[in-house]
């Protein structure tokens, strides 16, 4: 008998008393009663609490904000689907900033990703109550590896994509897409249960919220 059949047989035997399947109560909050302004305010508060740098800016000013944050950087990587207009003000100063585009045709290697200063991505959605940004591998967010290896992650989030509670985000996301949920920069609580930021993931997380 195969291990699978064996285990299935053991389970069926273990359940021979036919335990009842309970009706699952769903009395917890599944939607928000906050205004968009309140959600934005809460998200900023929660992200900052976990040591992310947060900038709220009108969408039209996003390129300028990005250029300001990247002043002094020499190279970045972006997913091929990132809106081109966000990068419009980056190449002004004599092209000193190299922008690598990661695409299905030209996938950056680990070594190349390890050499860039930062990654710029969009986000799928965000949960204000927990300070969580969700990436789902869409074309404006790219492969999981590009938002992981560079030491700095700059994430542009549209304010309209902010929800308050996790169930709202789950309803917006597609389970089978490769996902990364991010709540602040890489951290650990492994020494005396004291949270310190900066281990293996990006040590700097900048979030630009576009209003």
């Amino acid at each position: 008998m195969s291990a699978r059949e064996d285990i299935m047989g053991r389970i069926k035997s273990a359940l021979r008393d036919a335990p009842e399947t309970p009706v699952v109560p769903r009395e917890y909050r599944r939607s928000s009663n906050m205004s968009a302004e309140q959600r934005l305010e809460q998200l900023v508060d929660r992200l900052e609490d976990y040591k992310a740098n947060v900038f709220v800016t009108p969408a039209a000013k996003a390129p300028a904000k990005l250029a300001e944050l990247l002043a002094g950087s020499s190279s970045i990587v972006v997913p091929h689907g990132l809106p081109k207009e966000w990068l419009a003000e980056l190449t002004d100063d004599a092209g000193s900033l190299a922008v690598h585009v990661d695409s299905p045709e030209r996938r950056l290697t680990v070594a190349e990703l390890d050499a860039v200063d930062a990654v710029v991505t969009a986000a799928a959605t965000a949960v204000s109550e927990t300070g969580t940004i969700m990436l789902d591998g869409s074309e404006d967010q790219g492969r999981r590896i590009i938002s992981l290896v560079p030491d700095r992650h700059i994430c542009l989030l549209r304010a309209g994509d902010i929800v308050e509670v996790l169930p709202e985000a789950i309803a917006r996301l597609e389970a089978t897409r490769p996902q990364t949920w991010i709540s602040g920069p890489s951290a650990t609580s492994d020494i005396e249960l004291e949270r310190v930021e900066g281990v293996h993931g990006p040590r700097i997380l900048d979030v630009i919220i576009l209003t």
Binding site: I7, A14, T21, T130, I145, W181, T188
Partner: protein
């Protein structure tokens, strides 16, 4: 011939591996308690995490409703486990993942080894996983000539120190910062000799140490926090980014997951990803959560395996009173609030699973008679703090009592001559069976007073009762019992309770009459 046995209930098949107390808990506890540094470290850590947990739990108006949902979702999963597993398997396989089934620790270790051999690699990186700890995978791989590198900071500390984990979430909870610094200086190749004991500096040292391993690893091994039956999705919850590194960079990913880790649907994750982070690290959300479903072309490992592990889980499932222990989501809230764990630490329990949940899960998975696991259900004062803290409402005290009963029954079956405890219980059964018999026995009370002597304490009781007086004295018993006093004060039939009219008294006693 085999047809004769069709439909016959199979005996529970117990699990093996790092699931046993190898010495009786009281003995192990006594040794651990003597380590004052350990007690100081644990006291500090458990109190820190308790406060954090209470604070973030209090933030949510619907925490109790969420616990009710979590508990019911898990019960529903267990009641329909075969169907859940089949659905998960179909969905995960359809998207390019490969599923293997392992009856026990040995089989799981063999499967993982064979998969690593196929890649031709002799080094793997690992994400912290209780399942692989339980089956002793690292030790097995070492025997097979494969080096497994733990990448979680606390696991790394334990591995570098050649120590054993003592907590399911923070395996190095028993070490303080200066001890961690010493371990790094002693065991980490190329470490900065000027390393301080600041947690941030120590974390940075771990980053430097593991960076190259991550960027060049070809094979990773992980556990999983949840598997979603209706989509075939796996989840790993972590903080440092070592999980993301292992789940994203290598070509081959091998995940080992217990069969009980499933949730029926994607939307159930909305409950558990609220319950888990707040209960475990006391955070609103952990820094990183990764979700993957089979293979995503061009993104992450292209050779994705999952080992579905039984190793005694079906034996726990067969125990009607104990099966809810399988609902555990490994948050560690129960050990963080446990007055016993707080003092003895995790090593005293022997098993991979320490604390209150370990005291029920280990004997349920191995059977009560395995090594010294029958001592674990007694490692509790039954205070119930674990039940209150459990995000999926596992009634741990009730299962502890149930397993104590199992232990006594198994002892009785073994020893034909009645024990002192049996005789005491028989005596108690006789004495409490009628008021007359109890009266008769209570007449002996003045004897106790006599035995206590002039200092009015009894310092040593005979037989097994001597265990009680080993560490404490018993005050002299009164010269009469309450019942004797009552009879003296109240003539039968005219009883009047002070401050009560006879009418009231009758009303109040109604409940007792029923």
């Amino acid at each position: 011939m085999s047809n004769t046995f069709l439909g016959m209930p199979a005996l529970p098949v117990f699990g093996h591996g790092n699931l046993n107390a190898t010495e009786p808990f009281p003995q192990a506890a006594r040794r651990e308690l003597a380590n004052t540094q350990l007690r100081a470290n644990l006291g500090h850590a458990t109190h820190t995490i308790r406060d954090k947990r209470l604070k973030v739990v209090a933030e949510l108006p619907d925490w109790e409703q969420m616990r009710d949902s979590g508990s019911a979702i898990k019960d529903a999963t267990m009641a329909n486990l075969p169907g859940m597993l089949e659905a998960f398997e179909a969905n995960f396989t359809q998207r390019g993942g490969i599923i293997h089934w392992a009856r026990d620790a040995q089989e799981a270790n063999e499967i993982v080894t064979a998969l690593i051999r196929e890649t031709g690699e002799t080094e793997v990186v690992k994400v912290k996983s209780m399942a692989t700890q339980e089956i002793g995978l690292n030790e097995y791989l070492e025997e097979q000539g494969i080096a497994a590198y733990e990448t979680d900071l606390a696991e790394l500390i334990v591995q570098l120190d050649h120590d054993k984990p003592s907590h399911i979430l923070v395996p190095a909870i028993h070490k303080n910062r200066s001890q961690v610094r010493e371990i790094f200086l002693r065991e980490m190749p190329g470490v900065d000799p000027l390393l301080t004991d600041e947690p941030a500096r120590l974390a940075e040292a771990a980053r430097k140490h593991l960076r190259k391993k991550f960027l060049t690893a070809k094979v990773a091994i992980s556990g999983a926090n949840f598997g979603l039956a209706d989509t075939g999705t796996l989840t790993v919850v972590e903080s440092e980014g070592n999980g993301r590194m292992c789940l994203t960079l290598p070509e081959t990913l091998i995940t080992v997951m217990g069969i009980e880790k499933l949730l029926p649907s994607w939307s159930d994750l909305e409950v558990f990803m609220q319950l888990l982070p707040r209960s475990s690290t006391g955070e609103r959300m952990n820094p990183y959560t990764s979700l993957w479903t089979g293979v995503t072309p061009g993104d992450g490992p292209q050779n994705v395996h999952l080992v579905m592990l039984d190793n005694g889980r079906t034996a726990a499932l067969a125990d009607k009173m104990g099966r809810t222990a399988l609902n555990c989501i490994r948050c560690s809230a129960c050990m963080n609030v446990c007055p016993v764990y707080e003092r003895t630490g995790g090593h005293a329990y022997g098993s991979t699973y320490p604390g209150p949940i370990g005291a029920i899960l280990s004997p349920l998975m191995t059977g009560i008679k395995s090594e010294e696991n029958n001592s674990l259900p007694y490692a509790s004062s039954l205070c119930g703090a674990c039940f209150d803290a459990c995000p999926v409402k596992i009634n741990i005290p009730e299962i502890l009592v149930h397993l104590r009963g199992e232990d006594i029954d198994s002892q009785r079956a073994k020893i034909k001559v009645p024990t002192q405890m049996d005789l005491l219980m028989k005596g108690a059964e006789w004495a409490f069976s009628s008021g007359t018999k109890l009266n008769l026995l209570e007449r002996g009370l003045p004897l106790g007073k006599l035995a206590a002597g002039r200092d009015k304490v009894i310092k040593k009781l005979p037989g097994i009762a001597g265990g009680w007086t080993k560490t404490r004295d018993i005050p002299a018993p009164p010269s009469q019992s309450f019942r004797q006093w009552w009879d003296k004060e109240h003539t039968p039939g005219t009883a009047v309770v002070p401050g009560m009219t006879p009418g009231n008294s009758a009303e109040n006693s109604e409940g007792e009459q029923a």
